[in-house]
């Protein structure tokens, strides 16, 4: 199934929750969806015959300046097709429903996106930092991040 067919079918089922399809060859095409319905859409994508996206390849957080974004790269083992979903949330209220219950691998990916970008995944059972120390402040991969001068009274070099 191509990304256009997937887009058409999702549009039929979810209407306004599916915002647009971005095509930009030679780069990847992606479907932009509303953040609040990402859980339902992912559930459909995993379970509906014909889609069966059982493999979450990657979940990345992005800083777009004003907004934050989460990008989902899905793959189907059975049909060997792919789809890219994107959600965009404002920086002052970056809440996205967690898909951890759909693909267990999202657990650590979401923790990483929370740790480095600061996206809050609602419904995640254990949303704590994963790569940085547990008491680190700030989100290092944001473009406006300022490195702290001291951490536990130790000077942070660089």
């Amino acid at each position: 199934m191509t990304i256009n067919e997937i887009y058409e079918q999702l549009k039929e089922e979810y209407g306004d929750s599916i915002i647009e399809l971005i095509e930009n060859p030679p780069c990847d095409s992606s479907i932009i969806v509303k953040a609040e319905s990402i859980f339902d859409i992912c559930h459909t994508l995993r379970d509906k015959p014909g889609f069966e996206f059982d493999y979450l390849m990657c979940l990345s957080g992005l800083d777009l300046g004003e907004n934050l974004s989460a990008v989902y790269h899905l793959y189907s083992m059975k049909h060997s097709h792919k789809v890219v979903l994107k959600t965009i949330v404002p920086k002052d209220n970056p809440k996205i429903p967690s898909v951890e219950k759909i693909w267990r691998t999202a657990d650590w990916h979401e923790r990483e996106a929370y740790d480095l970008i600061g996206i809050i995944f609602e419904g995640h059972h254990n949303l704590i930092r994963i790569l940085c120390p547990y008491d680190w402040e700030g989100y290092p991969l944001r473009k406006d991040y300022k490195e702290p001068e001291y951490y536990h009274e130790m000077k942070v070099p660089y």
Binding site: N24, P26, C27, D28, S30, D54, Y55, L56, M57, C58, S60, L62, D63, V71, H73, M77, S80, V84, W103, R104, T105, D107, W108, H109, L116, R129, I130, L131, C132, P133, P140, L141
Partner: protein
């Protein structure tokens, strides 16, 4: 002497205190700086909580500050035993964005280097897995052989471990004149050693007793956790990106995908994950032999190097089959010579996340084996 008193015990009513034990971060069996918080009931593992991040070197933050070619040395340092394979998906992604067709000779050298590095990585994996199980000799044999492979890399790139050899659109340097003969000699040596190791370790009864039926990972759980590489194939899922989604020139070679079949235990146990690695080494040898035969002698490996590297605006996700599984790079370009964002989907990072799921209910000594059978490199877990 008094009469022996018989004590009646109702075992169902015995309760034992759970103990929390800290393994690592400085522990030889955690294969790096990994800390496992383990809850034990006697000697039985009831819970495992991995704590990672001790080797976090801010790869993604660094990548945003550098030009595209400058990122490649950092990628080498992610999974530092498979640096050749790490570079491949990154350069392929940029080449796809720029629309560069890589010369034939470069493609063949890349494939040969990747497969040699796959053998080297699997040698470390099997060697340290044997070490975890208490077998020391295979470790020495494998490290002796690995040194021959590293010598080839050194002749080509100048470095033993961190190469910066694959460039966007080409290679850093051409291979030396006796490359083909050297590689074929290694293939012969690898096969000879693997035969020895099979006798010494793989089909050894003690080793089988130790690793069969331990750490069973069912295929549906493996897919749900997005495991890849030998961890996924050990569970009997026949999935290999080189076959299922051929990239580079892998569609020109004839090779098989070994999967775990539960020969001595259950499908998806530690022994299965290990035997998949052993058999993949043989398949890599087959690919190398075919590639050496087809490889053109003439050709400039740097003729397609772009003058300026400014990919168009957009994002791309490229993945390739690393020795440990799928390594993916999500690259966002903003039209300048520096990437907006480079996200690495670390293979070991994803594979390690399945550890708490598959280690519950086994002995503590088995936990070390299960961790060894996943084959993680902490450089890639923490990036």
């Amino acid at each position: 002497m008094g009469e022996k008193k018989r004590i009646e015990l109702d075992y169902s009513k015995i309760e034992s205190d759970r103990m929390r034990l800290n393994v690592g971060p400085q522990h030889p069996s955690t294969h790096g700086v990994l800390r496992l918080e383990v809850e034990l009931d006697g000697e039985i593992v009831t819970e495992v909580v991995p704590h990672i991040g001790y080797l976090h070197r801010c790869f993604e933050k660094h990548a945003e500050k550098m030009t595209y070619p400058q990122v490649i040395p950092y990628i080498d340092r992610m999974d530092y035993v498979t640096s050749m394979n790490n570079e491949l998906p990154y350069v392929m992604a940029i080449e796809k964005m720029l629309g560069i067709e890589v010369p034939e000779k470069v493609q063949y050298i890349r494939v040969i280097m990747c497969e040699l590095n796959r053998i080297a990585s699997h040698q470390i994996a099997v060697a340290t897995f044997g070490l975890d199980a208490g077998a020391f000799t295979p470790f020495l044999y494998f490290f002796r052989d690995r040194e021959y492979i590293l010598a080839i890399f050194e002749k080509a790139s100048g470095a033993r471990l961190l190469f910066n050899y694959f460039w966007i659109g080409g290679l850093a340097a051409d291979v030396h004149p006796t490359f083909k003969e050297d590689v074929l000699a290694i293939v012969k040596q690898v096969r000879k050693t693997n035969k020895e190791i099979e006798d010494l370790l793989i089909y050894n009864k003690i080793f089988i007793e130790r690793t069969a039926n331990v750490g069973i990972l069912p295929p549906d759980v493996a897919i749900n956790y997005a495991c890849s590489g030998p961890v996924l194939r050990g569970s009997g899922v026949k999935f290999d990106l080189r076959k299922n989604e051929p990239y580079s020139i892998y569609d020109r070679f004839d090779f098989d995908i070994p999967v775990g079949m539960g020969e001595v235990g259950t499908v998806g146990d530690c022994w299965d994950r290990n035997i998949v690695r052993m058999r993949e080494m043989e398949q890599s040898c087959r690919i190398i032999e075919q590639a050496i035969e087809q490889m053109p002698n003439e050709g400039d490996v740097q003729e397609k190097l772009p003058k300026k590297i400014k990919p168009p605006k957009g994002d791309i996700y490229m993945r390739a089959e690393n020795p440990k599984g799928d390594l993916g790079f999500y690259i966002v370009s903003n039209g300048t010579d520096k990437p907006e964002r480079v996200k690495a989907r670390g293979t070991s990072f994803v594979n390690l996340s399945v550890l708490p799921e598959i280690s519950k209910g086994y002995m503590f000594a088995d936990l070390i084996l299960i961790l060894g059978s996943i084959d993680i490199v902490l450089g890639e877990v923490d990036r």
